[in-house]
């Protein structure tokens, strides 16, 4: 229970105006940290941003990951190479790719603006990606999708290998087209994995951290702060571990409820389907 003890300890800390060093008094303040968090505008801005990030990344990541997994599951030239190429973003360190993406989304002469203006001619003005809230969240989400697609792909590939070929053949005999086969054979066949991926992606989205810290550090004016960057700032920059812990438990309860709903809605159907 290497996480259990620290967890309980953090829970305890969240009821204190906790002093970092044990030699100084930590004052018990009950639920004050929780009440403060619920009324903290910045915390809720962070929650909204995390929700936006979730909506921008999770459906896209899962869909793209599943799409390419389906394509790469079947035999094709250079399949092994492609699988590796899709996996490379997953294995590159978050710190390095976050700084890399910050560089790509640079306003003047950044690679993304070059691609949009000079290559696709979608716009003539450079977009100040990281200088404003919503475009910055899009940039951070782009990194999130790019980094996680390969992860989904790998899990789905493993899951697809367990779907029995006979089922596809049977469906094909029944005259089902590719989309129908996908919907009626593939999806039920990998439902458990799909749930697993969804739950973990949602947890991951609420826990988005290094990319935001390094690309915008929550700015400008705190508008792109997410729960973890704000907690980190409170705990490690401002040494308010009590407050940071309280927020992390509010976030955890939130995630727990959402995960529970996911199990409820996606998990139940598993029994119905099989």
């Amino acid at each position: 229970m290497t996480t259990g003890y620290p967890l309980l300890r953090s829970l305890q800390i969240s009821f204190y105006n906790w002093s970092v060093v044990p030699t100084q008094v930590s004052k018990f303040i009950g639920l004050d940290n929780y009440i403060r968090a619920l009324g903290d505008e910045q915390f809720w801005t962070g929650m909204v941003n995390a929700a936006v990030y979730l909506l921008l990344t999770v459906p896209a990541t899962v869909a793209i990951g599943l799409f390419f997994a389906t394509l790469l599951h079947a035999r094709m030239p250079a399949r092994a190479l492609f699988r590796v190429l899709f996996y490379i973003p997953v294995v590159t360190s978050w710190v390095v790719v976050s700084l890399l993406f910050k560089y790509l989304f640079t306003t003047n002469d950044g690679a993304v603006n070059w691609f949009l203006t000079d290559f696709l001619h979608l716009t003539s003005e450079s977009i100040p990606w990281l200088e404003q809230r919503w475009t910055a969240l899009i940039a951070i989400s782009a990194l999130g999708v790019w980094k996680s697609v390969g992860w989904c792909l790998v899990v789905f590939l493993a899951a697809l290998s367990g779907v029995r070929e006979e089922l596809y053949e049977a469906a094909a005999l029944d005259g089902a087209n590719a989309w129908q086969r996908f919907l009626h054979v593939t999806v039920p066949g990998i439902r458990g994995t799909l749930l697993f991926v969804l739950v973990l992606q949602v947890i991951g989205a609420f826990n988005v951290f290094p990319s935001v810290l390094l690309m915008t550090n929550g700015g400008p004016a705190g508008s792109t702060e997410v729960p973890l960057t704000y907690m980190y700032k409170q705990a490690f920059s401002f040494l308010d571990f009590g407050y940071g812990s309280a927020m992390s438990f509010i976030l955890a309860i939130f995630i727990f409820v959402i995960s529970f709903l996911q199990f409820r809605f996606f998990g139940e159907k598993k029994e119905v389907g099989s």
Binding site: T3, R83, V84, Y87, I88, T92, L100, D109, M231, G244
Partner: protein, 275 residues
């Protein structure tokens, strides 16, 4: 399966375009790692180096005990992978095939562990590690990494074990097979793709982890690779070519592990076909 004649070509092009997007940022990284004077990143970025030098790679590998960090990371990742996959396979098997009291409670607890942001509990966790004598120790890293990954890996494997057809399980029971024989003779072989996936992620988790290693490792001789790479970043200036070169080298072992894992994905398909 009936395949449209052009379908294979379309599919190939779509996958290739996707792969280009996946790899483009990485190309910039490689390109920068091959250029001199990279404390100022060029804008616009270079997809291909304008002046090629291997200097960054030579420096990354020869300076600051890179080889030692590499071996440390290899040890930690391999040990973590073995421990995590072995333990998780058993726990996942238990969750998938047995009913026991508080099963759902235990499983929810396991999942809850994944939901609490790790960053805030790092201080109590560090104090625990210190009391357990696991600070500045590679075994300590293995212990905490394994503990941290079991929940995720169990969750991953459970979905696969649950899919093993009950008929096969029952057939083995009729043959008089005990739990151990079923686990080793039926579940493990059928879940090979999943176990390979778990191993690939577990290895990556140990290989990539930074924050915890930063917290518990102080002795320069015990640094893992991410710590070694971070050490290349200066207070005011960072030679990006050096950081990127080190990162490119660091990616290689994980790719090798992944390629090795792939063989088992395919083996898994074969196993499925036998059924």
């Amino acid at each position: 399966m009936r395949a449209h004649p052009g379908w294979a070509v379309v599919r190939f092009i779509v996958v290739a375009v996707g792969a280009v997007f996946m790899i483009a940022p990485f190309l910039i990284m490689i390109s920068t790692s091959l250029e001199p004077n990279t404390s100022i990143l060029p804008s616009p970025p270079h997809f291909f180096p304008q002046e090629v030098t291997l200097d960054n790679y030579v420096r990354a590998i020869t300076e600051n005990n890179f080889g030692g960090y590499f071996l440390n990371s290899l040890f930690v990742s391999v040990a973590t992978t073995v421990a995590t996959v072995a333990i998780s396979a058993m726990t996942a098997f238990a969750f998938a095939r047995f009913d026991f009291r508080f099963k759902n409670v235990v499983f929810s607890l396991l999942l809850a562990g994944l939901m609490i942001p790790g960053i805030v509990i790092i201080v109590p966790q560090f104090i625990l590690a210190k009391n357990l004598g696991m600070v500045d120790s590679l075994w300590g890293l293995v212990f905490f990494y394994t503990a941290g990954q079991i929940a995720f890996t169990t969750f991953l494997l459970r979905a696969f074990f649950e899919r093993v057809p009950h008929e096969l399980d029952e057939a083995m029971t009729v043959d008089g097979a005990g739990i151990v024989r079923k686990f080793v003779g039926l579940y493990i072989p059928l879940a090979r793709p999943a176990l390979a996936t778990a191993a690939v992620f577990s290895f990556l988790g140990g290989w990539d982890e930074y924050v915890w290693a930063l917290t518990v490792i102080t002795d320069p001789l015990k640094r893992t690779l991410p710590l070694g790479i971070a050490a290349f970043q200066g207070a005011h200036t960072t030679a990006w070519g050096l950081v990127f070169a080190a990162s490119v080298v660091a990616v290689l072992p994980v790719v090798i592990v992944y390629v090795a894992g792939q063989k088992h994905f395919i083996a898994g398909i074969a196993a499925g076909a036998v059924k």
